[in-house]
């Protein structure tokens, strides 16, 4: 039975990181109605910033963490200005945004590879110590606990910002109807920047956590596909949905890997995606929109 709980803990920990990624992605989707395919690249940069901060510059974890989070937040904002905002001004169809996002993603991934940083896999130094906590005969890695805690705290802060602050109200209004909010006096340009910044922040945190749990390499961005699936599962545009979808995905993946085969781990995510799209495209908590004639 301890094997079961072990898997559950693993699932929860990876699920919580997926949650950070998926929420950042869903946040942007809820406002702009497009899938930010560049999200993965941003996560990857976060992982690298954290890594180099801790190794080359020997900063303590807390500092590296903040650097990664804010650095990535800034990057996300820059990307918005450069790659999306011109399209937005032109009312371009959403698919142009997706293509532009892909361009950004390809650019980020390959600029790392081409630069002196190169494609080598890098391992984070151990930060939290190696002795696991033992609860009821189950090994709970310290890193897993920290991942879960940090994710939970970050998400809680995000929820606080969205629910309790004026900016958050602006975000919620814009998510409901961007144009109407603008007409109501909400500075939608600023809101969009903030949303991208927040999404980037979360991505940075996700990146550094992911890098710590696994390794750092330029293709980390591909993980972003999992977060899309998680977000679709939970319902595109719904933040709680993204969290729930991610946790469930993490758990399902870990159990599949543990009980079936690790080869199926990636495949199961896609099977899940197909399943959702066929049975219930709007996911667990998504909103349905009908085209008005």
């Amino acid at each position: 039975m301890s094997g079961f709980f072990q898997q559950l803990i693993n699932g929860l920990s990876i699920g919580s990181v997926y949650a950070l990624m998926a929420v950042g992605y869903s946040l942007v989707y809820s406002i702009m109605n497009f899938s930010n395919f560049a999200h993965g690249g941003v996560i990857m940069i976060g992982a690298y910033i954290g890594f180099f901060a801790m190794t080359a510059f020997e900063m303590p974890f807390a500092v590296a963490f903040c650097l990664a989070a804010f650095g990535t937040g800034l990057l996300a904002v820059v990307i918005e200005r450069v790659a999306y905002s011109p399209l937005r001004k032109r009312n371009a169809p959403f698919l142009y945004f997706i293509i532009s996002a892909m361009g950004v993603s390809i650019f980020l991934e390959n600029i790392i590879i081409a630069s002196p940083i190169g494609p080598t896999f890098r391992t984070y130094p151990r930060v939290f110590g190696t002795t696991p906590f033992i609860v009821a005969g189950v090994n709970i890695g310290r890193l897993d606990v920290m991942m879960f805690v940090i994710s939970a705290v970050s998400l809680a802060l995000l929820i606080f910002i969205i629910e309790k602050t004026r900016t958050g109200m602006g975000i919620r209004a814009s998510a409901y109807n961007l144009r109407a909010s603008a007409l109501m006096g909400v500075n939608t340009d600023r809101i969009i920047l903030i949303v991208f910044g927040l999404g980037g922040l979360l991505a940075g945190i996700a990146g550094i956590l992911f890098g710590m749990k696994y390794t750092v390499y330029p293709q980390i961005g591909n993980i972003t596909l999992k977060s899309f699936i998680a977000a679709v599962f939970g319902g595109l545009g719904s933040l709680p949905g993204a969290v729930i979808g991610s946790i469930l995905l993490g758990i399902i993946e870990t159990f599949t890997s543990g009980y079936l085969s690790s080869q199926f781990r990636d495949l199961i995510a896609f099977v899940l995606l197909i399943f959702i799209l066929v049975i219930r495209p709007r996911g667990l908590m998504g909103k349905t929109t009908e085209d008005k004639a």
Binding site: V82, A83, L87, A92, I106, L267, I274, L277
Partner: protein
């Protein structure tokens, strides 16, 4: 730079062109964006190889078999996904494309992730050129017919298309299957050019490249897709020395195009004899006869 090298680039361009032509029908003319077409190339590639190696078929019939396999797969995928709205359809095709690759990674019969070596090298420049010409002719004829107009109508206004009697689902499915067939042939040609196959040749990046090529050439323009495929395949090959920077420039270029000229190279126009005549007749002191009417024969 010797002829052998150039020939190789032309063959690869021609192979990409085949896939891009098919995708052009789906994306450029019918308005559906797919990020999983590398998956159909993969199916075509492996089925064609099965045809030549395991069934001993001659090359062209094996290619047709590959095309059929890809089209059938697209039929099932289409049934599941064509009713989904924009974003969801993109993610779904992405998912399927990756799923196909992952499945191939794990099926040892086809060599799994290690790949399938020893495929007969049957592709040569002549085959590629002939097939491409046929492919272009078929597509052009299709577009200049009521069916082609219906595809375009769906791209423009799906709801209005329904109300003038267009069976939108069936047309989308048709476009998807034809595009998958083209991709399948391209995959078959690729496998029998390189002499081996590996699932990682058909990754998500490949699907993206195909879609970007269609957009680069300009949605709704066959000539655009031809030029796009030739340019975007040969240019990186010619700049091989800068290999690692190739994709960096590529990514930046994509963003740049989207921001500055999203309608692509041709912006929806076609290079046809009639259009060239039109262009010339508009020049001052025009040469050539007073133009009749261009585009669809009127």
């Amino acid at each position: 730079m010797d002829w052998f090298y150039i020939k190789g680039i032309l063959i690869l361009s021609g192979i990409n062109l085949m896939a891009v032509l098919g995708l052009s029908l789906l994306t450029g003319f019918t308005g559906l964006f797919s990020f999983g077409h590398a998956g159909f190339m993969a199916i075509g590639a492996y089925v064609t190889a099965m045809g030549t190696i395991k069934l001993g078929l001659p090359f062209v019939p094996a290619l047709l078999l590959g095309a059929t396999g890809a089209a059938m797969a697209s039929f099932f995928i289409g049934r599941l996904t064509l009713n989904l709205k924009g974003d969801y359809f993109c993610i779904a095709t992405l998912g399927f494309g990756e799923a196909i690759r992952l499945i191939l990674d794990n099926v040892q019969y086809f060599g799994g992730a290690r790949g399938w070596p020893g495929i007969p090298v049957s592709t040569n420049l002549t085959t590629v050129v002939i097939l491409d010409i046929i492919g272009i002719a078929v597509l052009a004829n299709l577009i200049r017919s009521r069916h082609g107009r219906n595809f375009k109508a769906i791209r423009e206004e799906e709801m209005a298309s329904q109300t003038i009697g267009i069976n939108v689902f069936r047309y989308k499915m048709t476009a998807l299957m034809i595009s998958a067939a083209y991709a399948g042939i391209a995959g078959g040609l690729l496998g029998h050019y390189l002499g081996f196959l590996q699932p990682k040749m058909f990754q998500f990046v490949k699907s993206t490249e195909l879609t970007i090529t269609v957009i680069f050439g300009g949605l709704g323009s066959i000539s655009g897709s031809v030029i796009g495929a030739l340019v975007l395949t040969s240019l990186p090959e010619l700049l091989r020395t800068f290999a690692i920077w190739r994709l960096v420039v590529y990514g930046a270029a994509v963003v740049f195009i989207m921001i500055t000229r999203p309608q692509g190279l041709m912006g929806g126009y076609e290079i046809t004899p009639t259009n060239i005549k039109k262009l010339f007749s508009r020049l001052p002191g025009s040469v050539g006869k007073k133009q009749a009417v261009g585009g669809d024969k009127k």
